[in-house]
């Protein structure tokens, strides 16, 4: 390995939280009830979307729940690709109306985030935006003690990218304000994540590609963030190995169950560092693209990640050496100046994006030049900006958008 981590100091503080029980393997959908019962579920609302429901997967999950002696209280399948506040409220209301005591999400990031946010409203009441923010859920001891538990939540991810099945945040769209907002707190970690490649068997290759690039962005940003940790490094590096070996296979050969299973694990690992806040400005750039132009998150990350790598690598040898580690893992050239190593890794990412058949420029996905100042202002206010290894200005953001346009 290059020297980036050899002389790393012991951090003054970090914490690692990973309470979700992850089960991975084949045939697990059929034992969803057996597994979810261990988490306290009895009467389950299944949350999904219409497309997934049409594949028959939801029927299999329901059979699996019943086989484990759980009741299926109902199915809420009205989650759109970019879920919003109204959908979350409707989902929470459905859980109450059906008398559910637990929620199981079957879907991608939008479905899982809807279920997580709905679980907050279902448990604590109010409107979802009442709970916007970080670590704001009710706690014992006048807000300083242990947070109150939410209803049991399990996730069956049907994409390999978001990692929401093992994260403590939910991102929801406000369609009136054209923004995406977050709510995040420890109880929002799902209690159970079921990683079964059967759940991604019908995933369209383009979606597999975009979500896979989301996972790659989590791993790469997590590894260089100011909030990186040794625990997170381990997950990011293993995620990147799995992505290196499985992403193209899973997209180009959708029948490859091994590749799809490994991609589920990769996505699950890649999100790990972000649970300690280790992420960066590729996400800051991408969130406004989704909020204002409906660019799918994985596609936006695929486009924005290379310019961010180049920007960060030019910010100092310490950052560039982290990228050098990643280049070594990817069997790329590790020598040269800071800028050169950034360019090497960025070009590798661009090449991967091309091979995956994804768009390479923001202008290809509807982002306009006129919007760049507004997007830059939005990116400046994104929480991910605070933990990027190189501190950007709003002008930097506009320049990055121009380079990605």
């Amino acid at each position: 390995m290059a020297g980036a981590r050899a002389g790393a100091p012991f951090k003054d503080f970090y914490q690692w939280v990973s309470p979700t029980r992850v089960i991975a393997g084949r045939g697990l959908i059929e034992s969803a009830g057996f597994e979810f019962a261990k988490e306290g579920a009895r009467r389950v609302l299944v949350v999904t979307d219409e497309v997934i429901r049409e594949t028959g997967l939801v029927d299999r999950v329901q059979d699996g729940l019943r086989d484990g002696d759980l009741e299926v209280a109902g199915v809420f399948d009205a989650v759109p690709p970019d879920s919003d506040s109204a959908v979350v409220q409707a989902c929470a209301a459905a859980a109450a109306e059906h008398g559910a005591d637990a929620i199981l999400a079957v879907g991608g990031g939008s479905v899982m985030d809807t279920a997580k946010a709905a679980n907050v409203v279902f448990t604590h009441g109010g409107q979802v935006r009442d709970w916007e923010g970080y670590f704001g859920l009710p706690r014992a001891d006048d807000g300083l003690g242990r947070p109150d538990e939410l209803a049991p939540l399990a996730c069956v991810p049907t994409t390999s990218g978001t990692g929401s099945e093992v994260s403590f945040a939910a991102v929801i769209k406000d369609r009136e304000q054209h923004i995406k907002y977050q709510l995040a707190d420890w109880p929002m970690f799902p209690r159970l994540a079921i990683l079964d490649p059967a759940a991604t068997a019908t995933l369209p290759p383009r979606l597999a590609a975009a979500t896979g690039m989301d996972a790659m962005t989590h791993a790469i940003e997590g590894y260089v963030s100011t909030e990186r940790t040794p625990h997170g490094d381990a997950q990011a590096l293993q995620a990147l190995r799995l992505l290196r070996d499985n992403l193209l296979r899973a997209v180009q050969s959708p029948g490859d169950e091994d590749a799809r299973g490994n991609m589920l694990v990769a996505a699950c690992l890649a999100i790990g560092p972000t649970c300690t806040g280790a992420i960066g400005i590729a996400h800051s750039l991408s969130h406004p693209c989704g909020g204002r132009f409906d660019v799918p998150h994985g596609v936006a990350n695929a486009i924005n990640l290379p310019v961010v790598i180049e920007f960060n690598a030019a910010g100092g040898t310490e950052i560039a050496d982290r990228y050098r580690d990643l280049c070594e893992l990817l069997a790329l050239e590790t020598g040269g100046s800071d800028e050169q190593v950034g360019a090497t890794l960025a070009e590798h990412v661009r090449g991967t994006v091309r091979e995956l058949g994804l768009p390479g420029r923001l202008s290809e996905v509807g982002v306009t030049e006129a919007a760049l100042p507004q997007l830059a202002e939005d990116a400046m206010g994104d929480g991910c900006t605070l933990v990027n290894p190189r501190e950007p200005t709003e002008d930097d953001f506009e320049q990055l958008y121009r380079r990605a346009l």
Partner: protein
């Protein structure tokens, strides 16, 4: 970014934690004054007003509250204590944490993760201000010294 802060307050000889500020009025005299002066600054106020929001800072130990209107196109307003403003964002923390933040000793990300700061509402609106306030840190330190309270600037 700075590291987390395991020692939030001064100690007496008996080892008991003592907050930096002994009264609500002291919070207003120092942190309140800083906010008031920032919002009266013709250069800084427009930058803060890009947040276009009303933020309420609720402090513990001692109990106190500062509400800051940063609405675009309006006069800045800082209310110390009771207010008629309707805050959009509420930040809750010990007054010690606020004091140490303005001295540049608090990593906001870590403070949020540790629960030392609680953020409710559209937090992104004020997170964008964090890079802007870094130049204010020496100003706060100087303000304390001018007030004859340089002792308060000695924090870990």
């Amino acid at each position: 970014m700075l590291a987390g802060e395991p020692v939030p307050a001064r100690r007496t000889r008996k080892g008991v934690h003592v907050p930096y500020f002994s009264s609500e009025q002291e919070v207003y005299d120092h942190i309140g004054r800083l906010f008031t002066e920032l919002m009266a600054d013709d250069e800084l106020r427009p930058q803060f007003q890009r947040a276009n929001t009303i933020v309420q800072y609720r402090y513990r130990n001692p109990e106190s509250q500062i509400t800051v209107s940063m609405l675009e196109g309006a006069q800045g307003q800082v209310d110390l204590g009771p207010t008629g403003l309707d805050p959009e964002v509420v930040m809750t923390m010990d007054a010690d944490t606020a004091h140490r933040f303005w001295l540049g000793k608090v990593n906001v990300t870590v403070a949020l993760a540790r629960g030392q700061m609680k953020a409710k509402g559209p937090v992104a609106k004020i997170l964008k201000l964090v890079p802007l306030v870094k130049p204010v840190f020496p100003r706060y330190r100087a303000q304390l010294e001018q007030a004859g309270r340089g002792d308060l600037a000695e924090v870990s």
